[in-house]
């Protein structure tokens, strides 16, 4: 290939642009129920697969293992343990955060799975894998039916 050698970077052009779209994602059939319970009753719900014996959090319409439709809803515990965690010092755009944020995968008690959320009321250096934590909810009037209705998970004894 007769590549033309271009030594001066100003001679190569870049075309600037952006891709703009606005999205509205439906929660879906299972998601709608989950977020409704979160908003109205501060409850974490899961769906149970009778065949496989799993209770899924976050709940889904069907079991990915056996493909059965799941219509049994159960309340899950608000407690769990830190399965793994990380401490973020920069935000999504790469800017330094004022305060570091602790992100954890919290395994909820007695169900299959859990959720990724923030840890609060704890110093990053005190976080341990296996640490027991509990969900702290916003006041009802501030809840909108989103994952942020849970403010964070805090350590419990």
């Amino acid at each position: 290939m007769s590549l033309e050698k271009i030594g001066d970077p100003h001679k190569t052009k870049h075309w600037m642009g952006h891709m703009e779209c606005d999205y509205s994602y439906t929660h879906g059939i299972a998601g709608e129920k989950f977020f409704k319970e979160l908003k109205e009753n501060a409850r974490i719900m899961g769906t149970k697969c009778k065949k496989c014996g799993f209770i899924y959090v976050l709940p889904r319409l069907f079991c990915e293992r056996c493909f059965e439709r799941l219509d049994e809803w159960v309340e899950a515990s608000k407690r769990g343990e830190v399965h793994t965690y990380t401490v973020a010092h920069i935000d999504v755009d790469g800017n330094k955060l004022k305060e570091p944020i602790i992100w954890a995968m919290v395994k909820i008690d007695k169900v299959h799975g859990g959720m990724v959320h923030r840890l609060g009321e704890v110093d990053p250096k005190d976080v341990k894998i296996g640490m027991r934590v509990e969900a702290v909810f916003k006041d009802k009037k501030e809840r909108t039916g989103s994952m942020l209705d849970i403010k964070y998970f805090k350590p419990v004894g």
Partner: protein, 388 residues
């Protein structure tokens, strides 16, 4: 050519096609896949691999859409891949399912297609802008309907075709869709309705175009020995073809889809078809616009160049004609969730060849059927030939 195992379609599933569906993409994929499995009397553990087709991530707004949908497609901890060739995906994903089984590597395969275009605001059209070249096309404010209008206009000009002739396709397909339980826009319209509808991009008017839609479809494929145990009436995939043309679409004459002919020849050769108009009993060519049905009929060698409008005028392409085209109602009548639309056509051929199409059934016991999809920047053709 050497094919290790003959491949059959043994089950099919389809969701409603609507402008907006509440289900997430994953849930839509599940509904179609579960229906396909149930129709074949199979469980997920009977499935050895999954192939999924879905079009630009920009519609659903979730990148790595294939990964997001896999649970719904039954692919948890299975060999899995996602294919994407724009609008051609719906038939190409079935082609990819074919080679999974024909190679001898797997005995069963799930083929799934899903699209959820409703997530994109202000309109899914806007997500399409991201497919155009950012340097020479986008700055001119390019819109997808513009480029199809350019193709339609060129086709009309080269063959001297009038809008009235093309409008007959929209009338036929929307009427056929009245008998399809999943159809989004079935209607009894006339040629005058089409000619009086809003001009979007001349010569394209509102009733010339299929809608944007949410929906999913699925097939179960099986190798010969396994298929015969599952059902008495497997539908064999006897020919597959696919082809792509240059992305420099301004460097091609748009009046004829060379790439569709290329894909069709590949499929016909494999299926041993020498005289397509005589040997194909029913066909579902891709019809996102009414002129495309005509354009593709010619590319599929079902008639000579410029002859498709005449066949339509003479009623040859009606359900009770000599060459029924789009008995389902096509994209114009049933809907256009990009990838799922093509697979919907294969579901239709499956049901037609088994005599299970109910009110849409083409008479005369059709034995050989064809489905075709078209995609990307007017450049991709995928074809499948099926026999019962």
């Amino acid at each position: 050519m050497f094919v290790k195992k003959r491949v059959a379609v043994v089950g099919a599933g389809l969701t409603l096609f609507r402008r907006n569906l509440k289900e997430t993409g994953r849930e839509l994929a599940y509904e179609a896949t579960k229906m396909a499995l149930d129709s074949a009397g199979l469980n997920l553990k009977d499935i050895e691999c999954v192939t999924l087709g879905t079009a630009p991530d920009a519609f659903d707004g979730i990148h790595m859409k294939g990964e997001n949908l896999l649970d719904g497609a039954g692919a948890w901890r299975k060999p899995y891949s996602r294919v994407f060739v724009g609008g051609g995906t719906g038939v190409f994903v079935a082609n990819s399912g074919w080679w999974h089984v024909a190679s001898g590597l797997f005995d069963t395969c799930l083929v799934v297609a899903e699209e959820k275009m409703s997530s994109c605001f202000p309109h899914p059209q806007y997500a399409f802008t991201t497919i155009f070249d950012p340097i020479v096309d986008r700055p001119l404010g390019m819109n997808l309907v513009w480029i199809f209008a350019l193709e339609m206009h060129r086709y009309m000009h080269v063959h001297g075709i009038k809008k009235e002739q093309i409008a007959l396709v929209s009338v036929k397909n929307k009427r056929n869709a009245l008998d399809h339980p999943c159809a989004q826009l079935p209607a009894k319209i006339t040629v005058e309705d089409v000619l009086n509808s809003e001009v979007m991009v001349w010569p394209v008017q509102r009733l010339d175009i299929s809608p944007t839609s949410d929906g999913a479809a699925a097939l179960v494929l099986a190798s010969e020995d396994v298929a015969k145990k599952i059902t008495d009436d497997p539908v064999w995939i006897d020919g597959v073809g696919w082809c792509i043309d240059s992305t420099y679409w301004t460097n091609r004459d748009l009046y004829y889809p060379e790439y569709v002919e290329c894909a069709a020849r590949m499929a016909y050769k494999m299926a041993g078809i020498k005289n397509p108009p005589k040997e194909i009993d029913v066909a579902e060519p891709y019809d996102p616009f009414d002129y495309k049905e005509l354009h593709h009929m010619e590319g599929l060698l079902l008639c000579g160049k410029g002859e498709a409008p005449k066949l339509t005028e003479e009623g040859v392409t009606q359900r009770d004609g000599d060459l029924p085209i789009n008995p389902s109602g096509g994209l114009l009548g049933v809907g256009n969730p990009i990838a799922a639309a093509g697979l919907m056509k294969i579901c239709e051929i499956f049901w037609q060849l088994r005599g299970e199409a109910g009110k849409r059934q083409v008479p005369g016991d059709p034995r050989t059927g064809l489905a075709q999809a078209w995609g990307d920047l007017m450049q991709y053709g995928s074809v499948i030939v099926m026999r019962s």
